[in-house]
């Protein structure tokens, strides 16, 4: 029973992580890419909690806490960067921000 649950959640988080990676690769809107990164982080969180339950230890959940703290910091800085980019280019499409592309 316990193994089955663990495997189910590992598979689920694998699917979520892959979807997030796919999103980062195929979308060109910076905000959507940012959200796909959040999706990948959440897939990892799900894995951590699953293993925390599997081993009956609390450490995995502590790691999730730190991932959330880092994600919050990332959101603040990332969105500020998006705001600054928009101010200069009036767009947040990755294809429009290519001054250094030559």
């Amino acid at each position: 029973m316990a193994i089955e649950v663990t495997e189910f959640y590992l598979l689920l988080s694998a699917v979520l992580f892959t979807l997030g990676a796919l999103g980062v690769m195929i979308r060109s809107n910076t905000i959507v890419m940012f959200m796909c990164v959040e999706l990948m982080l959440n897939a990892v969180n799900l894995t951590l909690v699953t293993f925390s339950r599997q081993f009956g230890e609390v450490h995995g959940q502590v790691f999730v806490f730190f991932v959330m703290a880092v994600a919050a910091a990332e959101a603040a800085v990332g969105l500020a960067i998006i705001l600054a980019v928009f101010r200069n280019y009036f767009s947040i499409q990755t294809s429009d921000v290519h001054d250094l592309a030559g």
């Binding site: 495997e7 598979l11 690769m25 195929i26 959200m35 959440n42 009956g56 919050a72 009036f90 990755t94």
Partner: protein, 195 residues
């Protein structure tokens, strides 16, 4: 594995598909809110109550509100075309398919995990409840006190950085690429949309 787990698992995948494939950024964001909420449900079903509450409080309640705030502030809710600088779609699909296949293989095959780890504690795992705020807090504030303080420092740095990046010097109206120019652009866009 219960029926509830299957059901919510399926919902989570559907919501995540919405994040990746929704045409408009705001629909993506709302799908992500649903995904995060459903992940919180999974946390609760795995016995991690404290983390589930934090998930809703921090992710769904704070980070995503910030994202939606930015989408609304900048008026960015347009369907976006595929850019020429991105990875081609078929390549991305192939890569992700291979990656997912590897992960599934890793999870389902015997012998990937070190021998005995999966079996040794599996029996008593579901009996104890290590997910209460008291348990997590005890470990967080004793064993992990140094990373905890570092996380606080990181958040402070992030706040300062965000303010520095997003702060705009007040300029006289109608000059340069400041807020007023942005507003003009937005209003002209809205006129176009109405037409």
């Amino acid at each position: 594995m219960t029926f509830a787990m299957m059901f919510f698992g399926l919902l989570t995948v559907v919501a995540a598909l919405g994040v990746v494939f929704a045409a408009k950024p705001l629909n993506s964001a709302l799908s992500l809110v649903a995904t995060l909420f459903l992940v919180a449900v999974h946390f609760a079903m795995l016995g991690a109550d404290f983390v589930a509450a934090l998930q809703v409080l921090i992710y769904a309640g704070a980070i995503m509100v910030l994202v939606i705030f930015v989408i609304m502030l900048l008026g960015l809710d347009e369907a976006s075309a595929v850019s020429k600088f991105k990875v081609p779609r078929y390549l991305a699909a192939v890569f992700c398919g291979v990656f997912l296949g590897l992960l599934v293989f890793a999870v389902s095959s015997e012998g990937i995990f070190p021998v005995g780890i999966m079996d040794s504690v599996a029996g008593g795992a579901s009996e104890s409840n290590p997910g209460s705020p008291r348990e997590v807090g005890m470990v967080l504030l004793t064993e992990f006190i140094f990373p905890f303080q570092l996380a606080a420092l990181l958040l402070l740095a992030a706040i300062v950085g965000a303010v520095l990046l997003a702060h705009e010097e007040k300029r006289p109206l109608g000059k340069g690429r400041g807020l007023s120019a942005m507003q003009q652009k937005n209003s002209s866009e809205e006129e176009l949309r109405e037409v």
